[in-house]
Symmetry: C2
Subunit: 361 residues, 2 copies
């Protein structure tokens, strides 16, 4: 870097403009409360020096950092990106997002919470509701709004905006069962000690529960590989599933990415989707909408999660009494039947299929 003079401070600006630093501070914070003429002189000095206010000093003094911390599982999933964008847009330019990612490690989440808290954020938004004890403790004692998203904890640490992953899994199973399928599978990732997608697991559990409620077996609800699930995960899982149960009729993947990978694996093997096996995803990723055939999915409005969270935080920041702001918001999910799930072949209607002995082919 060039040997330039020191970075100008507010003091430098005030001297050049012949005013006190308080006046400079006012011009920058609310120009209307300073006389027209003084304002012009200050602005000219700011311009001439290329002065950029130091927000770390400002934050220490005002006790407002205008940071909002956001903890996500990954930076490479466009759905979480949509949530981040929705949050950023709703919060507006006055707030800066501090984003961290955990890669589904709870220990990493703990480290991040500690690091972000040191930066004195105005609020912390975190994906999920399963945390280490230390994380829970820090979050509880943080004295700032904490929002758990993409889930529906009962009760939340503080606030929650999301949906029930268990119910989402149930809805997925019911869709497939309603179509007349009986030999139904699902796959997600393994819940390990360090890496675990607890929300995907909840979906799988809801799925298995619905299967059992319908008198069907949940033996094909598989946990393979580790989070985050990818296209590749879906392909590998589908391959494993097909080896194990060549007669499978329908499969639910914990994410559209995984569902797409599964579909590609079917294509490679010459297995028709949905003709021979129906595929249902989760999340309503763009890939599912644009793929040919488009993938049926359990839709989540990722951007709305961010927007609602932003709205909630703004209400809280504006001093709306905590009691007036909902503790938990359910944005719900909906099954979007596109072209990868169709009625089971052997069944003229779903009801018949459920009690028939159909082999599904």
């Amino acid at each position: 870097m060039p040997a330039t003079p020191k970075k100008p401070t507010m003091r430098d600006v005030s001297r050049l403009a012949g005013v006190s630093t308080m006046t400079v501070s006012r011009v920058l914070a609310d120009p209307s409360i300073v006389s027209q003429e003084t304002r012009a002189r200050v602005l000219a000095a700011v311009e001439q020096l290329g002065y950029v206010p130091d927000l770390v000093a400002g934050s220490l003094s005002s006790r407002r950092t205008n940071f909002v911390g956001l903890i996500l599982p990954t930076l490479t999933n466009s759905n979480f990106g949509d949530t981040a964008q929705g949050l950023a847009e709703t919060l507006g330019p006055a707030y800066q997002l501090l984003i961290g990612y955990t890669l589904y490690h709870l220990a990493e989440e703990e480290r991040l919470v500690r690091a972000l808290l040191s930066r004195r954020p105005e609020a912390l938004v975190v994906a999920g509701s399963i945390h280490t004890g230390a994380t829970r403790r820090m979050l509880t004692n943080a004295r700032i709004p904490v929002v758990e998203i993409w889930d529906r904890p009962e009760p939340p640490l503080d606030r929650a905006v999301g949906f029930s992953n268990f119910e989402a899994g149930r809805a997925a199973a019911r869709h497939l069962i309603g179509l007349g399928h009986r030999r139904i599978a699902a796959f997600g990732s393994v819940v390990g000690e360090d890496v675990a997608d607890h929300r995907g697991e909840a979906r799988l559990q809801g799925f298995a529960a619905a299967l059992k409620d319908a008198g069907l077996s949940d033996a094909l609800v598989l946990r393979l590989g580790h989070a985050p699930v990818s296209y590749e995960h879906g392909a590998a899982a589908m391959a494993a599933l097909l080896d194990r149960a060549p007669d499978v009729e329908a499969v639910f993947a914990v994410s559209d990415a995984s569902a797409f990978g599964a579909m590609m694996e079917c294509r490679r093997r010459g297995i028709d989707v949905p003709g021979r096996v129906a595929v249902l995803g989760f999340g309503d990723f763009e890939i599912g909408r644009q793929s040919e055939p488009p993938i049926s999915t359990v839709r989540v409005d990722a951007k709305a999660i961010g927007e609602r969270t932003g709205r909630l935080l703004l209400d809280l920041f504006e001093g709306k009494s905590g009691a007036a702001v909902p503790v938990s918001q359910d944005i719900g999910v909906s099954v979007v039947a596109r072209r990868t799930t169709i009625e089971a072949k052997a069944a003229p209607c779903a009801a018949a299929a459920r009690q028939g002995d159909g082999d599904g082919r």
Copy 2:
């Protein structure tokens, strides 16, 4: 929030432990320089109070924020996510990434640079090399390392880690020409006043230049819709292209997402890829690798861009003289021929095709 006592400060800890704040500060910064017994007392007090150091005060005092600002076009493109992860991993837990996104608006980039600079980052990493005048001025006067990534400016504002998008476009065209295609198209987005993907445009220009060098027409190098390009963009662009030039033999899309969308549009229309039209993407996104058939692409190691940038910054932070750190690093690109680009049908070999009159069908 519960009516809890005020957040404990270092002063509170020091009183409880019966030491000065300096001793507390030392225990937290470098425990080894404090006596075993004192250290234990301080740590106990920290634990008891649930003390979390205030980094904004610490930053003001030490003049080190340990922030690195990162400006990306979008948060929903997994390639930029890979770059961010590579950067974060290389920088390590001592540094916190402050990520902003522009949606390809130069004005938004300017706003972000100003906002991030106020936070006193240790360095600023920004995708691209086209900036507004004000942005260039701020970046030049920032007195911190500035790294432009995903491009190859001549010269960089300060440092650059990336590749030539123009050359990447050229390589794409040469691949297609080498395969014997003659009726060749490409598509990207429109360069508007406010929204513009300048890097994608550079690829298109390199592509067009190579076409002309080979004596081919660049009339089918199209700009449609606006950035960021998506699966949907590719589908729409392909549809437009097919209406315009039903006899097109090969097409280059400025991103794999767009290429995938184009392929899906072909599938919808019953047009065989690569049998009737070859498709080449850019970026080596996971979608291209996992799609069936896998999509040929111009590969960029997105994660490596982040890692190299992190390495470079660490060197600079550790006081390596600026002169010892390369100003510009080219990570290069490579054409990865997968299954969506094959030799032109009419040509028994590429050389013959280039001089033949083949209609490509």
